[in-house]
Symmetry: C2
Subunit: 228 residues, 2 copies
DNA sequence: GATCGATGTCTTGTATGGTAGTATATTTCG
DNA sequence: CGAAATATACTACCATACAAGACATCGATC
């Protein structure tokens, strides 16, 4: 019934890395449902590769708390934990507040221009392409860390951010409207450009607060996707 | 010349998990020197196991940025990057400040008692056993997160904390004296017990600031251990 | 009919062989 | 003698085979 799905020929990165990226995307976007069992052998045959790279991809996914490997039993897409999402937001807020405060002090005019450019791009794709917007959103927050001279600090946030992204992908409707998010991004940039750390902090807190305002509603709407 | 070093019989966790823990410890403590090449086959023969579990351990170590896997070339213990350590401290400070502020508001009396107990233990081992103290230090900071109801938030910090710990293990002499650290711990607990978030924040910032005060000195002292 | 047990079939964990790529030492040629 | 070509000894990567635990199904026994 199912045919072999080929991986794009990519001699640059290993098969394990490619399958890892692929699975991670599928989990975050919800194509692989929480609670679903993943099988090394099933996925390996589906992509026409051996079990080994799949196994290595599982290990990395387990490190990011996206799957749970249960020895001799199976590997499962972890259900979303409301508490974990809120904790992820807590960590992200703490780090990102510190980041924008530094950015407000240290950001170069070039970095600020880059941020404005990203916001402008977000406006142009705002229409319907949610995937493109989320990619730009990711780029925006990464650029914030770059502007603060804390590029590597973003890596720590990026890991836990996946848990928040999963919620976002669950429901476009319940999420904050895109134009509203863009306005919040602009407020952050304005505060940085004005060299006002307090205002930048307030803007970030407001931004991150709103992102998860809809969490309880979504959790009620999709009970089988969440823990317990 | 070298004999086989057996792993402790531990049927609970897999060989891969055991060898991962072991190697991680050895790297953080400096038993495996930065820049040193690690070989799947060499380690596997040394511990009397196959290459497979070693390989999986390498993958997990690479995720924590403790080793660098270079395809078809080798796997190397990454040299310490001053910038990375400072960024790790930056992230840790941001998160831990947020944690103790919440702890000052929410911590139960039981949690506060547990914190005091840990500080007391630290006093008793303070004499000479540095390993024991560092374990208690780890437990203390973890308990802080627990007291704030953000246990899972500590995981994000724990990863990057390894980079800071490597520096600590480099030089006991250059590091802040243990009794001084204990006093700082006590100040944090006191602030939480007094339900004073601002004081708790100040105490944490002072604590983390001092930990890396000696970083430039150590970097000059051990140039081959650091990047570039 | 209920309960206990053997067994078949899943799963992940481990071992091992082969391959391709890289770095280095060696040889060969200009 | 110097430099390019080649042999060699590594490496990580992937595929494959086997082992061992977990679980469901079925059957025998009480």
């Amino acid at each position: 019934m199912s045919t072999i799905i080929p991986l794009r020929p990519d001699n640059q990165s290993s098969i394990a890395a490619q399958i890892h990226r692929r699975l991670r995307e599928d989990i975050v976007r919800g194509a692989l449902a929480p609670g679903q069992a993943l099988s090394e052998s099933e996925i390996s045959t589906r992509y026409g590769i051996s079990r080994q790279p799949v196994r290595e991809a599982f290990i990395r996914l387990a490190n990011d708390n996206l799957v749970s490997i249960q020895p001799q039993r199976g590997t499962f897409v972890v259900r979303i934990s409301v508490k974990d999402v809120m904790d992820a937001r807590f960590v992200r807020e703490a780090v990102e507040v510190a980041v924008v405060r530094e950015a407000a002090r240290n950001a170069t005019t070039a970095a600020i221009a880059a941020l404005r450019e990203l916001v402008e791009c977000q406006r142009q794709v705002a229409a319907g392409d949610n995937d493109a917007f989320l990619a730009l959103d990711e780029a925006f927050h990464q650029e914030l860390a770059h502007a603060a001279g804390r590029r590597s600090a973003w890596q720590a946030v990026d890991r836990i951010k996946a848990q928040m992204d999963r919620v976002r992908y669950l429901s476009y409707e319940a999420a904050t409207p895109v134009d509203r998010l863009i306005a919040q991004h602009e407020r952050i940039v304005d505060a940085i450009a004005a060299r006002n750390p307090d205002e930048a902090e307030a803007a970030v807190r407001a931004h991150l607060e709103e992102i998860l305002e809809s969490l309880p509603e979504i959790a009620r709407q999709y009970p089988e996707v969440f823990e317990r």
